[in-house]
Symmetry: C2
Subunit: 614 residues, 2 copies
């Protein structure tokens, strides 16, 4: 194979303690790229309608991207793919940090984990070799605690992907945490619980291989030339981190408040915004491997009730869900809840959403103090927030119910509770409002993993960022319906490719166009992918994921939004009528299916699949 | 009590063979009127969350209207109310004919049937007395057969309400048939199965009481004065019957075709239209009691494969469902399928819909000849149509599955089948397209009994009929969104009142305004109800039915439309882009809840209930 992309994957069978190499040829790699693209291909081949998410047969797939461990800016991410136990459908989740690059340094592009260990185990992956090691002494420990222990037992420069106690206990909201207290978590879709079902506590990776690059000089020159632009364009974003967007999004009616009910919360968001964090608990910034933007926040709380917080700070999504959704404006409490999520291995998005859901149940008498072990689960109660996160992490008391996510919890509670449960296909909504961006509305309704802000990531382009290849010319407006479906589909193709190449989507904040990203990709792989092939490949990946989901029963009926997102305007002061819109999802979906070559039930037509080589 | 309205209802306990009188005082009557209004009040009082539709405790309520058996034009209808076994929620269905007026002649406004007979029973109600009679010899016989038998055993002028074999066998699509072969069926919501669960074959009614009228001279004068207008205005409608509308509705894209998929079917509908029937199998017209319009069709087929048809002919809805939905353009076959429905006691709307659903399953390989007992269930196969109706009536072979309605059948078939199942809250869509009339879209989504064309009946007003009191000034357009919710709500209040007063909605085709209907109502009752009270009462009834449904788990999540109605444009030739619209249900519902004083979950606010005296 040309260039740096080897398509080298190890298949690790925990039941039999066997490791086999599986090579993917160039044709397959070029068709499915890597990351969640090649991951989806593997999942499609290795599962069927009956594969239980917690069965040994369900593969847990870790995939880096073709440009991992090269100079390519923001290319340090990796994907985790499996059948989700939370949603029952295609699950993908990705993380930044250093783990993906380290995997490539160990000479590998991916790991396919199958089977189930007899007792708690961790994998020690060094320079392409895999060792099965006992993890009994780590079982029950949190992800921050075990990071130094594992480094001590392996290599001081190793990188750890691990589950916390939540994953061990199969909590459906649990994720996979990387890099210890500089946490980067593959949070969504409950894939930490899949890892827990395999009794796999951690995967520790170390290596010394250099990344092979087809055209190293061209790549170096290009990166050098563009670096000043990246640094300049991403300056503010890097300085304030993702939560720098909190105030802007709140002003636009995009920030989630009180389980998506409240209109504005100006005084509240000021206290949990990026600037507020920068002025108080921020200690330093940190970056994922090969990222010049450095949006990571390290925070520390020295005193007060939340003293002890020390590590990764809350992101925008976390501020939205643990903060805005629950109306908690106590930054230190949000930081503590965030840290508990990281330590126990919980997705902060789903965790915040399910707590807000529970608060609305409590408000309406569907949950009482008898259910909450005496906790007063009122809006804005920051102690309650922290307690709830703990209970979910420990699967204790009401935490057991809430850790199942809003869909299942609402069904178990019954009555009107399903009306408070905002999710798509079982995945809780992230911190962007489908009523605020019709592109997001359509994307949430159609994304493979359920309500996902990343698989189309239209919001930036719907408010001024340009990317001419998807039609984002700075004039795409939030509430326009005409042409929106085509725009969303193209964004999905592009972002699906970024998820396969493992670029960070924030590279757009660094002023980098699609053409830059594609050029670097070709310089690494030695390929000559043009824009047409790029988009066709993106469309292939989207259709592949769709076909996986179709096999698990997904059709048009599931491409929807929660009633609240379609029917209910926000209440309270602040948003004017002109700022209050409700997405006409029927029209958007109709246009989308037509553009996609899907039939009316949302299933790709045979001719479309043939066209895409599926 | 003033005037003619006695509020006199008999409570009939089939288990204990007991009859008690229950009087409703004037205040209650004025608050809930009669028909399905007072019926809803009784249902609300006598059921709870756990009342099984087939339990002896579920009351089956027959209610005439306050003007029954008077001179008031079109006032001969009656309502049947119960918890629906098909939908699990509020069930109401009404019928024309002579039974309601006869009940009033027997001195009664209604019957509340509870309990369960030990063996097949019929009730013989004469002049206010009820006799429990053995119906063993009638069990298994169809409704046309038993009509003369029962008259022979009781009184030659008696009127029969009966179930056919479908109701006996608890087929969920079964209705209650009145007047033998001049059939008028309370078809919707499966209330025939409730009657079957009580082992009640028929209720035969006869009486000699005159209808008391508060101001008989005024009433006589008014009716005399207006009769020429009614006759003139309803001339064409009366001549062609309800199926006179088939061609117009098809042209407008309102007529259901091929399970709501096909755009146009000009050649097909010509063969099953009102004029086609008038020129071929029509024998004579017939009218409900006190109706000058006479939209009923008596048809007869003498030869050919469908020889033997002799009685009530297919209505517009039946042409739409047994005809257009299944693409069957053989009028005699539709007439035969219609007659089988009447004889076995099946709702033609739901029956046609579930056969079309099955045809789509067959087209897509979800049902095969193995499932259909060898029947080739292809679109347009008129023999298959007739066979399917028989099988449902007999609960035989695949008829057992289909007789459960599209919601349950699609769940049992699984796979993609739910995408073919068009219903709201479990009730199959009638023959009007929510994409063609946005008023119908909102009405279908919010009607108490599920997808209902009668509870708002906006379509006439959305294409030119005027009724200034609901804002219908001839300029209400089908696809306008602004103001549509208020218009629909007002139509629902008005039509809910017609359902309580038991006017026929076709009185509007007779040129009669709301003011006429209200005047007659006051002349009979002696009340002084003004328009404000009329609409407030209509709103009360709507909210009462909503509260009944809320108790059975209905909320916003259920106020929706099938995906196909919201997302999918019709295909094939015919309809231009300008004629293809998709209802923006989110916006419509949001406006509707706001206008209604309901909260975002679609539940009436406490202050609204207080305002309405509920």
């Amino acid at each position: 194979m040309a260039g740096g992309y080897m398509g080298r994957v190890l298949r690790v069978d925990l039941s039999r303690k066997k490791v086999e190499e599986q090579k993917f040829n160039e044709e397959t790699c070029r068709k499915f790229i890597g990351g969640s693209g090649l991951g989806a291909k593997i999942l499609y081949d290795e599962t069927n309608a009956d594969t239980d998410p917690f069965s040994p047969e369900n593969p847990l797939i870790f995939m880096a991207g073709p440009t991992a461990n090269t100079q390519v800016p923001t290319s340090g991410r990796h994907a985790v793919v499996s059948r989700s136990p939370l949603t029952g459908i295609f699950g993908e989740s990705d993380a930044g940090g250093t783990w993906g690059a380290k995997l490539k340094q160990a000479g590998l592009d991916g790991l396919i984990i199958t089977g189930k260990a007899h007792s708690p185990t961790y994998l020690w992956v060094q320079d392409g070799k895999v060792e099965f090691r006992d993890a009994s002494h780590l079982w029950g420990k949190d992800t921050y605690e075990i990071d130094p222990i594992l480094k001590g037992e392996t290599h001081k420069n190793a990188t750890v992907a691990a589950i916390g106690p939540a994953g061990e206990k199969l909590v459906l909201l649990s994720g996979i945490v990387h890099d210890g207290s500089d946490a980067r978590i593959a949070g969504r879709c409950g894939l930490g619980a899949v890892m827990g079902s395999k009794k796999l506590k951690a995967i520790v990776v170390q290596g010394s291989a250099k990344a092979p690059v087809a055209h190293p000089d061209d790549l170096a020159a290009s990166v050098k030339e563009l670096m000043p632009t990246i640094l300049e364009s991403s300056k503010t974003f890097g300085q304030l981190g993702t939560s720098g967007g909190v105030i802007t999004h709140e002003t636009m009616g995009n920030f989630p408040l009180q389980n998506w009910r409240l209109g504005r919360w100006e005084e509240g968001v000021k206290k949990i915004s990026g600037p507020a964090m920068a002025e108080s608990i921020l200690v330093k910034r940190y970056a994922c491997r090969q990222c010049p933007i450095a949006c990571g926040r390290e925070v520390k709380v020295d005193k007060g009730p939340y003293a002890g917080v020390d590590g990764a700070g809350p992101e925008y999504e976390t501020m939205g869900t643990l903060g805005g959704m629950c109306l908690v404006d106590n930054l230190e409490a949000v930081a503590m809840a965030n840290e508990i999520c990281n330590r126990y291995g919980l997705d902060t998005i789903s965790a915040g959403c399910v707590i807000a859901f529970a608060m609305e149940c409590y408000e309406n008498g569907l949950l009482t103090k008898k259910d909450t072990d005496g906790i007063d689960l009122t809006w804005g109660n920051h102690q309650a927030l922290v307690e709830m996160v703990k209970k979910m992490g420990k699967k204790e008391g009401i935490g057991e119910l809430l850790g199942k996510g809003v869909r299942r919890a609402s069904q178990e509670i019954g009555g009107i509770a399903p009306e408070f449960a905002l999710h798509v296909k079982g995945l809780e909504l992230p911190a962007h409002d489908p009523r605020s961006y019709f592109g997001a509305a359509l994307a949430f309704a159609t994304s493979a993993r359920g309500a996902c802000h990343l698989s189309a990531w239209t919001m930036g382009f719907e408010r001024g960022l340009t990317m001419p290849e998807v039609g984002a010319d700075g004039r795409v407006t939030r509430w326009e319906v005409n042409g929106k479906a085509e725009f969303v589909a193209k964004c999905q193709y592009m972002m699906g490719m970024y998820d396969a190449m493992k670029y960070c989507k924030f590279i757009a904040f660094g002023g980098m166009k699609l053409s830059h990203c594609l050029k670097w990709f070709n310089q690494v792989t030695g390929w000559d992918m043009d824009l047409a092939e790029f988009f066709k490949t993106g469309e292939r990946l989207l259709n592949l994921k769709r076909m996986i989901n179709v096999g698990w029963g997904v059709s048009r009926k599931d491409d929807t939004l929660p009633p609240r997102s379609m029917t209910h305007k926000r209440t309270g002061p602040g948003l004017t009528d002109a700022e209050q819109h409700l997405p006409p999802l029927g029209r958007l979906l109709s246009d989308y299916y037509e553009y996609s070559g899907w039939n009316e039930w949302g299933i790709p037509r045979p001719e479309k699949l043939r066209e895409l080589g599926l």
